[in-house]
């Protein structure tokens, strides 16, 4: 499966624990949709993290033809949870929408708020799993967060994206060793493992290549 094939409904929700790589997946997916010639927008619905969010990539995304929906004060000093002003476009806009949602029950409360809109517009929600993320590294820990998000949003997950990585230190072994853990999570959660990602500097069979778009400080 490719990343692009995840977007089968009006809204694709990318969710999962903090630091699992949701923003990276959401931005890569939006770029892939735009490249396929479809109208696409990405919404930064992270109401928890003050920095390192999809708003960081707004200029690059706009250039690629991806509409961005970003809270007015993202990356400023206004420290309040806020939604983008054109939020309803997520459900009513032309083409496809990708939602990047903050990753636990609190972050996912924003989904619960618009529960009916997601159902009416049609949505697919995916859980991003990183085997190397502290606390949620074990499938059991990740499952707890998965259930928390389900409860807070009232929405269903349709699959798992195995995005196991160690940032710049990711190797072939990092990626391959994590697969059994993702399979175990899939079994526990009762939803399919749809794809495994690998950073673009590695060439690994049966994985989907992801470009790291995280803001670099040094």
């Amino acid at each position: 499966m490719t990343l692009r094939e995840l977007a089968t409904e009006k809204v694709t929700v990318i969710s999962g624990p903090y630091g699992s790589g949701k923003t990276n997946i959401a931005v890569n997916l939006a770029m892939d949709i735009a490249k396929s010639g479809k109208v696409c927008r990405i919404a930064d619905l992270d109401i928890v993290n003050p920095y390192f969010r999809s708003a960081d990539n707004a200029k690059m995304l706009e250039k690629m033809g991806v509409q961005t929906m970003i809270p007015l004060f993202a990356n400023t000093n206004v420290d309040i949870p806020a939604l983008p002003p054109n939020y309803q476009m997520l459900f009513t806009g032309e083409g496809y929408s990708v939602a990047d949602v903050g990753g636990d029950g609190d972050g996912a409360a924003v989904l619960g708020l618009s529960h009916d809109d997601y159902i009416e517009a049609g949505y697919k929600m995916y859980f991003v799993y990183n085997r190397y993320r502290y606390i949620t590294s074990e499938p059991e820990g990740a499952l707890e967060v998965l259930n928390e998000i389900k409860r807070a949003s009232g929405l269903e997950f349709h699959g798992i994206i195995n995005n196991s990585n160690l940032g710049a230190e990711t190797t072939r072994e990092t990626v391959l060793n994590a697969i059994p853990y993702a399979e175990r999570l899939s079994e526990l959660a009762g939803i399919p493992l749809l794809l495994t990602t690998a950073p673009d500097w590695l060439d690994i069979e049966n994985t989907v290549t992801i470009t790291d778009i995280t803001k670099k400080l040094f």
């Binding site: 390192f52 400023t76 000093n77 420290d79 502290y134 400080l217 040094f218």
Partner: protein, 354 residues
Amino acid sequence: MGEKLLMKGNEAIAEAAIRSGCKLFFGYPITPQTELAEYMAKQMPKRGGLSLQAESEIAAINMVLGAASTGARVITSSSSPGISLKCEGISYIIGSDLPCVIVNVQRGGPGLGGIQPAQSDYNQATKALGHGDGHAIVLAPNSVQEIATLVGEAFDLADIYRMPCMILADGALGQMMEPVDFEAKPAREIPEKDWACCGHGGKRVHNIVNSLYIEPEELERIVLERFERYKKLEENEVKYEEYLTEDADIVIVAYGITARIAKTAVRNARKKGIKAGLFRPITLYPYPKKQLNALADKAKCFLSVEMNMGQMVNDIKIAIDCKKPVYHYGRTGGMIPSPEDILAKIEEISGGNA
């Protein structure tokens, strides 16, 4: 454990504290530090500890004072404006000779300032974390991995020297995610806490933890004794890192996240044929004076790079006895310098001086 996992800086501080035997966290939420408090709230109850969200930063630091009096390992954390609120309590802790760890994940100031990263509490941390003659140890990690070892070291130093130890981080370090391995830090010998108020059981004279002295002669004696300890600290506990300083004409002095950015600038300067090097103080108090002074005999000039208006410049000048010029490059208010910005400054200086 030996296995690397990804963590945010804030989470790594909390995890390292718990692994160092700290069972008590008192704090109050503030961006960009809040993940630390959240981590404590989730983990402490599962691991036999207590995490308490106090009604204010002032209440939290006084809870730290009380807990530290019993000899327990205790930590509090905040970000810049919250640290200012804690300063009275920190002075009382210094005056009571109590060990504890205080975390400052700095943000832009003064005042309420902003929530983006800064290093503008350098002077507060190293010169006056409260009123009176006194110091807190100040450690400045520059990576999530270094956080993992320095937090444990902070608890050890605090216990050995009976004084508060601050982890001076910044928003970028607190929020960024890096692989971390909580390998065992070399164990240090911790003196018995025979001063602690933990119940005398009728077997000894009761201990008193206090910072009030009725006779000025006694207070002076206590302060002088404390400064003898500071002298030992300055002799034995200085930590720093050097990168390409051996033949450097321009020595960049930077700590924390800025040192990471400056390192890239140094590498790029070398590619252009400029002999740049990086000196990174890890202990901001005690400051690595001797080591910088030795460099001043070889280098042509120094460049302090900080996310503030030049707060460390005077410390460098004092350390090197003003033997060489000390320049400054900084961004402030929550702005982060880029490697290109720093390189431009290096080129500007080397064009004239180096």
